[in-house]
Every structure is written in C-alpha cells, then in structure tokens.
C-alpha cells in the first residue's frame, strides 16, 4: 500500500513540476510597473484632493481634511464599481488598485451588488464582508498586537 502511494506521490510531484514549467507566468516587471503607476496615480489624486481642501478651507483641521479625502475617494471607487469599470482598471493595476482605500470600497460594493438578489438580510447584509472580512479581522488582530508591543516594550523607555 505504502509503495503504491509513494509511486502516486512521486508521479504527482513530477506532474506538478512539469505543470509549473509550462504554465505561463505573470511578467513581474510589467506587473510592478502597472501597480506602481495605478497606485501612484490614485494616491496623487488623493493628495490633490486634500491639498485643495486644505487650501480652500483653512479652518479644517489636518485630521478632518484626511477624513474628507478618504470619503471622497471611497465614494468615487464605489461609483466606478457600480458603473462597471473599476474591475477593468483593477485587472491592470493589481496591488496598485487593491491596496489603497479604493480597493476596500470596491470589494464591499461589488459583494453588496452581487448578493442583492438574495434579499436585504440574507443577501447584502450577510455577504457584505465575504471578500473584505479577512482584511477587517487581520487588521484588528495585528493592530492589537502592535498596540500591545508599543505599550509593553516601547512604553517602558
């Protein structure tokens, strides 16, 4: 029995190695360049919005400007998702469109659109976090850990 499973295992290993060599790979420099410029442009637009806000309304505090900028970016991303061309940008952008706050907005909006047909409770509400759930959970867990490290180790000095 074990001999047979070993033969199967070695066959599978050989096959997987073979598949790896023939499967087309994503070109790394190209992917990096695309995510660099799409992510960069997103952040530049964000910076532009915050500069305009700070210039036109000097009474706003720095935090307030940042908040309003994020809100505008999120709204625009959700609008783009609803109109159906965010995924076209994201197919090129990769991490460049996924990492900024717009990616999070897109993930939530797309899930809510997709599961709208199952109703408001069991569809939209229940499935809203299917894609972004891991992001939220990991964000909370790791920021808690970082906070504790900051409190115990860095706080001692």
């Amino acid at each position: 029995m074990s001999e047979k499973t070993n033969a199967v295992k070695s066959r599978n290993d050989r096959y997987n190695k073979y598949v790896d060599t023939v499967s087309p790979k994503t070109s790394v420099p190209k992917a990096l360049w695309h995510s660099f410029w799409i992510g960069g442009v997103t952040c530049m637009i964000g910076q532009g919005i915050s500069d305009i806000l700070a210039f036109s309304m000097p009474s706003l505090s720095k935090d307030m400007v940042a908040n309003i900028t994020s809100m505008i970016l999120v709204t625009v991303a959700i609008l783009f998702t609803g109109l159906g061309f965010y995924d076209v940008i994201a197919r090129q952008g990769g991490a460049g469109s996924f990492l900024p706050i717009t990616g999070f907005a897109n993930a939530m909006a797309s899930a809510s659109m997709e599961f709208k047909t199952e109703g408001l409770i069991f569809g939209t509400s229940a499935k809203l976090f299917t894609v972004v759930g891991p992001v939220v959970v990991n964000g909370v867990v790791w920021s808690t850990l970082a906070g504790l490290i900051n409190l115990w180790i860095l706080g001692a000095y």
């Binding site: 499967s23 087309p24 047909t117």
Partner: protein
Amino acid sequence: MESEIKHTIPKSRTEENAGIFPSPTYFSPRQRVMRFFNTPRIVGRMSVVGEKESKGPLGKYFHKCETDDKLGEKTFERAEIRMFDTAVRGAIRDAKLGIEDIDLMVSGDLLNQMTTSSYAARDIGVPHIGVYGACSTMTESLLVAATMVDGGYYKNVLCATCSHFATAERQFRFPLEYGCQRPPYAQWTVTGAAASVVSANTEAVKRFPKIVMAIPGIITDFGTNDLNNMGAAMAPAAMNTMFTLVTETGYSEDDFDLIITGDLGKLGSDILRDLMRKSGIKLGQNYIDCGNMIYDVYQKCYQGGSGCACSATIFNSFIMDKLCSGEYKRVAYLATGALMSTQSCYQGETIPCISHAVIVESPYGGEE
C-alpha cells in the same frame, strides 16, 4: 448494423508502453468501452450562446445568440434557466417532435444542487434525470441517453446542459465587479446552453449522425490544487480516456476525423499533447480543443473557455453540422470535468477530474 463497427482490435499498445508512464488505472483488464449496436441517432440539436461567444471564431455556427446577459430577467440564475429552456425547446423543434414525444430528459449544469436544470425541467414536465459531471456533463448525458435508447427502454431522450459566466463566477470565484487580477493560466466560463435529442434508430432517422461507442471516464487526480489552473488539472483525465480510446476501441488516433476535448484551454491541450506523446501516441492536426477554439485571442480570455456549455455548444453546432453533411466521418468527443468545490480546494484537497468520451459517426461514407 453490427458489420458497421470494426471489432478487430489492433495489437494493444498497453503492454508496449507499460513502463513509460506508470499508473495503476490504465492497465486494468476491465472492459471500458460501451458499444451501441443499435446506433442511437442524434436527431435534433440547439445551441444558445451569449454575446461574447457569438463574437468568437465560431460565432456564425451557433443557432441563437443572446445579447443581454440577464435576458431581461431579474437574476442571472433566472437568465440561465431561460437560456436552458430555449435550448431544450429548440432542440425538440429541430427534431420535429413535440414535448409529449420526449420520454426522458437527462441534463445537468454547474450550480449547486443543479438548480438550473431542475428548475427548467419543472416547466418542461418530462421525466428528468440529473447528471453532474462538471464541464463533462454533455458527454455524460449523451452516454446515459444513448444507453437508454440503445437498450430499448426509451425512444426519444433529450440531453441538455448549460452554464453562465456570472453564476459560475459567483459560485466558484469572486463577485463580478470585484477588481481582482486573474493569473495568465485562468479560463473564462462560457455563457450558453445546448441540447440534443437522441432517438432510436429507425428508417425515418437514418440520415442523422449516430452514436456508436462511449467510454465512461475514470476519476484521475494528479495532485494539482490550483483552482485557476483547470487545464492542467483536467489534462491527465483526458489522457486516461484518450488512451483507452485509441487502444481499446479498435480505432487508432488517425481513424478519427476529429478528436475534440472539452475545455482544456490552450495550456491544457498543450499539456495533453505532451502527456500523450509520453504514452507513445502522437496527436496530429485532427486533435482540437473546444476551450481553445471558442474565443478569439483579442477577447482576452487568457487560456480560453471552460464550463459545461463550452464543448456542448460547439458540439451541437459546428461539429454536428459537419457530421450531418458528411464532412467529418467519425468524431470522438471527450469532455473533461473538474469535480471540485470551493470548500474542498480551500481545505487543501487536490482536484479530481473526469473525462467521458462519446464516438459519433456520420451517416454518410464510412466503412460500408
């Protein structure tokens, strides 16, 4: 009828190649090939596709093209049911029969619990057998239908299948509008539905293509677990059945005018060619892959199409046209299916795959 089928099995290549690619499943002594001596005929057919498929290289062969993804329905699932219904009714009309003449319907699709085919069967109202073979559903249903008709249990049996890009994407991957990058070896689920009517062989239908043999597949798992790389996962299953096809049926690979696989895509069909070469069989120009054919390069569908409808629509339009006109004499149709669920893949299980084969012959020419 019996004289039409060659029974002289050429010296089996199985023993010659025993050492090259060892796997316990190839060398079993069991008889895998089903021979239909009463030759059931495929008398009616219909294929419905979405807009993207109709713009592909085979677009002009399909019978109907739906320009709206939702077909005016509220959900994509309803649209899929409607498309399925259109294909079924069209095939029955093409066979010049009425719904009351259909004795049995064998159908399946990709969704959980096969909702599409069951819901569509609810409106059609004929006895229904649901089969699930993932993307190989069409060959599986043809196999079951041919068996029923050949055995004399039923006279007219309907086979149907369908898949929809939006519903498959939601079930197996991410929401439609979610911006994620696909790897370059991913495939695109075909939107479409296809149906064909298998009838008992009588004088009236002798001008239609006949099903002469079928090979039920063996579940093959070569240990791939990448949900996106279906072609590589399914190629070994196709190899297994194709090996049986050329060693046990009595035909060699050159006796077929066309050997078509279901939805291996470009990468998968290249891998299959490689695997077959290692087993000592060279696939020539007569081997094609439906997934590779259905989309054009500029449509950006990565390795090509996948899904039940991919091979089913092409078989029921292009291939059957050529068989009816006698341009192709003998065609082997091997659809492949990956029998995984998203849960099983996330749990680290590998992907078991299957490939059923059906051999269809043209009524014209041949061995007479």
